[in-house]
């Protein structure tokens, strides 16, 4: 597919309906071990309100986990409690202790070009696709490449 043409298409046009069944998702009160287990195979996991729900409330990425498993290192100026979240020190117990709550999202009506620009500006490699509060899919660099190269 032509890249320019892809930029003009909407998210809903390229989103595979079956994708939702394969999204990495877990509820916010899940144990951190379960989260880590998912991240052994995936590079992120979406956090939802409760089991069976699709109400999106956070994300944990591999870079968050990297900070959790590396030897603890505090920045020069410490404010708030986020730097005290640690696997080694038992303060990272549940998914909600580690997740990022403020998410940059996209909607099924957004154009792919806009979504990619948002990803570049925000330094993100994946965006959740949401309708209302619920996650209905995700746009990742891998997924876009597959579409571009006709592998989907």
């Amino acid at each position: 597919m032509d890249l320019k043409e892809l930029h003009e298409r909407k998210v809903k046009d390229i989103l595979d309906e079956k994708q939702i069944w394969n999204l990495p998702m877990i509820e916010k009160n899940a144990n951190i071990e379960e989260v880590l287990s998912i991240l052994t195979a995936r590079d992120h996991v979406w956090i939802v309100e409760e089991k069976g729900s699709k109400k999106l409330c956070g994300v944990i990425t591999e870079s968050d986990v990297l900070r959790l498993i590396a030897p603890p290192r505090l920045p020069k100026y410490v404010f708030g409690k986020k730097y005290s979240v640690s696997l080694q020190h038992g303060t990272a117990k549940k998914a909600e202790d580690v997740m990022h709550r403020q998410l940059i999202k996209c909607s099924p009506e957004d154009k792919i070009g806009e979504v990619l620009t948002r990803m570049v500006n925000s330094g993100l490699r994946r965006l959740p696709v949401v309708e209302g509060d619920e996650i209905v899919g995700e746009i990742t660099v891998h997924y876009i490449l597959q579409i571009l190269l006709g592998k989907r």
Partner: protein, 381 residues
Amino acid sequence: MLLEIGIALLLAKILGHAMERIRQPAVIGEIIAGIVVGPFILGEFFGMKYLSPVTEGLGQIGIILLLFISGLEIGLDEIKAAGKNGMITSMFDVAVAFFFGYIAGYLLGYDVRTSIAIGNILVATSVGITVRTLMEMHALHSKVGELILTVAVLDDVLGILVLSFTLGRGEPALLIAKVALFFLIFVCVAFLINKIRDVKLHIPRFMLTAALSFSFIFSALAHDLGLAAITGSFFGGLALSNLPQRRRINEFVRQMGENFFIPLFFIWVGASFDFYALKDIGPLVLLFIPMALLGKIIGCSTGARLCGFKARDAFAVGVGMMPRMEVALVVVTTEITMGIFNETLAHQVLAATILLVIISSFITPVALKIVYKGEENQHSE
């Protein structure tokens, strides 16, 4: 001046790292770097002139960024999640720490406004030293550790609030109205930002520049309303803390602040350290430092005890809350800039605060380890 800034930044980086190697905060290294480049060492022997309106201005920008980062990182969500125990202990902590500072000023014969200013310096605890110590002791997840962290977060917020009410300029009734107006604007802005956060603007990285600009505008607003500019930057950070771009904004401001403006503030603090002030500082230090340490121990222990903590656990909470660092230095510098102290007293209070920062930073890890050891023994008995 360019040479002085270059040398100061390099020295601050090296001494900051050296301090971290001996498990002390880098800020102390940055202050020492300031003392070295200041008028008493490199100034005296090599004729360097670090202190100038330009370096002071750069340091003032550092203060705004520091408090903005603080508000952004603490965030409204952490305040909401503080819980009853944290709130109660924090209120006792802030009230007693402030009162002890005020009493120290009163006993030294200072007027009410000066005594209040001393009380303000003692309110905010530095979370960094305590987190580091709790990590070393593997006590971060304990209920003592959890309460210390929550209270340390809350007392930054309460400390800035107390500062707004006690040091604002103007008649009391008018001041209350101005503080109320500032917080009304804060609530409205926080609400509006939450509503318009998904607005699409086609200016690349607009949000980062807008956030930075917002921190200065909010600081100016607070200043123009007669409050301290730092109140504005702190609450400006809090107002943006629910944005989806929070992490990105934080990284951006930290990059700029942590590597340039904020070290320049601590260097400026060190360079302003007046060795002549040490001559007459005895009575101030003898009251100021013990009152600073005792205020936290008594305030937090009482609060924690009322929340159902055992006596020794409550005591450990008080001990863990003793360190003062970034915010105390910001508050004292702001008060000096506001002209609250006369010139001699300004040098003495700044020197006393620097000594408090260093002493509290060195004794808290040792004291907390002694108290916590006692707590472990108590549990094993």
